[in-house]
């Protein structure tokens, strides 16, 4: 029973910020103003905005990578701190990485996440997002926003976000699907790759993985 739910959750791990339907219309002010306001409002409008885009775009639903990258650049990227996400997943090794290596790591990790996302995007349109109660002191700069994705049939899926307040507003830096935090789940693998082949070894593994996925998709 638990294993079934687990693997289902892994599929949905790809639903970063998106993949969640909501019956209500996206609020008129859009996401831009939300990043300056409350973090839960940001998550809500971002989820709804991304979902609306997926629902009206059959090419996107088919998992088209170019189209998906466009969506990520336009809608998701401004509200996600991919660099922090990568830094936390890489862990100690980040300190030894040169700026070029850091850029390469962030680029390849992001590419892997987008490709993973592509596999789940078609299922996304059948979900609705529900916000869970959110309480935070106004002074807090690091918060967890808790939501659940409710499918048209079946049990709801826990979907939480960690956000950090930056000068440019709130930014998501980790996602949790049914209790599995994305960053945490890559940490051991990345550390092992760095132990074996250094930072460049990890970059190489990520690049090869992305190339292999590219080959499969075409």
């Amino acid at each position: 029973m638990s294993y079934r739910t687990l693997v289902t959750s892994l599929a949905l791990a790809a639903l970063i910020g998106g993949g969640m339907a909501h019956g209500q219309a996206v609020q008129a002010q859009g996401v831009a103003s939300a990043s300056m306001s409350a973090p839960d409002a940001l998550v809500k409008s971002l989820s709804e905005d991304v979902l609306a885009s997926i629902r009206k775009d059959p090419t996107l639903q088919s998992g088209d990578i170019a189209r998906l990258n466009g969506l990520v650049d336009e809608k998701i990227l401004p509200y996600v701190n991919f660099e922090k996400m990568t830094r936390l997943a890489v862990g100690r090794g980040w300190r030894d990485a040169s700026p070029e290596q850091r850029q390469a790591l962030t680029r390849e990790f992001r590419s892997l996440l987008v490709r993973t996302y592509a596999g789940a995007v078609s299922a996304a349109k059948d979900y609705q997002v529900q916000m869970k109660p959110f309480r935070a002191e106004p002074s807090e700069t690091d918060v967890t926003v808790r939501t659940q994705a409710v499918p048209s049939r079946g049990d709801p899926i826990q979907l939480d976000y960690r956000l950090e307040k930056t000068a440019a507003g709130w930014k998501i830096y980790d996602v949790n699907v049914l209790g599995v935090w994305l960053v945490e789940n890559y940490r051991n693998t990345f550390a092992g790759e760095i132990n074996r082949g250094g930072i460049d070894g990890l970059i190489k593994s990520l690049t090869e993985r992305n190339k292999a996925l590219e080959g499969k998709a075409s």
Binding site: S2, R95, Q101, L112, G119, V180, R196, G198
Partner: protein, 271 residues
């Protein structure tokens, strides 16, 4: 007698399929993770399970998905989960959550009747959400740590604690094992297995894409997932060991390429 011989041959074929696949590549440093001291054994069993799955279970699940209508599959899935409501109720009670236990029993009553033998989840529509409880979680709630990660042959990822938990579920609370008619019981157990496997098919593609190392990815997800369940979706946040000021520091000018690989994490000398 003939049936018995056939059964023996089938079992041998299944085990052979697994054994053929079970030459797991063991990376250097395997077993150094404190959560997974038995990594070498675990990786081999993981590969074995994968071989059995690819040869036997997955093709059956794919055929089931291709032949049986989606609505009917949803109904069957609900019916099997409905059978597990007593497991949820007993464990919620053991964890000191009588309201949740009452909700599970109420779900069982509503879905078994109005929901047509559990086919429809009517109770969810009136706001009674399905629990996901088992004895492994109860042990965790009582303060027992999971212990080493442990991949069970044919059954998949587990921990020492959850293995005892499964044994208790199997011997004590899972209603399917109480069915006296052995052919009926075994058919249901088999059908439940196919139902479970079929429900995993869509997820598999994503797992294949996301994981650099499938074994590690599944292990780390399993351990996080179970911890989350023990705390009913709200576990205390783990300290972020890497998150400190040193990590925010600008990158060193010298590229770190070709640095000697360390088997152990370096001491945080720069902090």
């Amino acid at each position: 007698m003939r049936a018995l011989r056939l059964c023996g041959r089938l079992v041998a074929a299944v085990l052979l399929a697994g054994a053929l696949a079970a030459c797991a590549s063991i990376p250097p440093g395997a077993g150094s993770n404190p959560a997974d001291p038995w990594e070498v054994y675990n990786r081999n069993v993981f590969e074995f399970n994968d071989g059995v799955d690819r040869a036997v279970l997955k093709p059956i699940a794919q055929a089931y998905e291709a032949v049986v209508n989606e609505d009917i599959r949803g109904c069957i899935n609900n019916a099997f989960l409905n059978l597990l409501e007593p497991v949820n109720a007993i464990n919620n009670l053991l964890q000191g959550k009588p309201v949740a236990a009452a909700s599970d029993l109420c779900r069982l009553a509503i879905n078994s009747t109005l929901g047509i033998a559990g086919c429809l989840d009517i109770a969810a529509k009136i706001g009674l959400q399905r629990s996901n409880e088992d004895f492994g979680q109860t042990l965790g709630r009582w303060g027992l740590q999971p212990g080493p990660y442990f991949v069970l042959p044919l059954l998949g990822p587990s921990s020492v604690r959850d293995t005892f938990g499964r044994l208790f579920d199997f011997l004590g609370t899972d209603p399917i094992w109480y069915i006296q008619d052995v052919p009926v019981r075994n058919s249901l157990v088999g059908a439940r297995l196919v139902d479970t496997r079929a429900s995993l098919l869509p997820a598999e593609k994503v797992l294949e894409a996301a994981a650099l190392d499938r074994y590690q990815f599944v292990r780390d997800a399993f351990l996080q997932f179970r911890r989350n369940l023990v705390y009913d979706g709200n576990p205390p946040r783990l300290a972020d060991p890497e998150e400190d000021d040193a990590d925010e520091a600008p990158a060193p000018k010298q590229p770190a390429a070709g640095q000697p690989a360390a088997d152990q994490p370096k001491p945080a000398a720069t902090r």
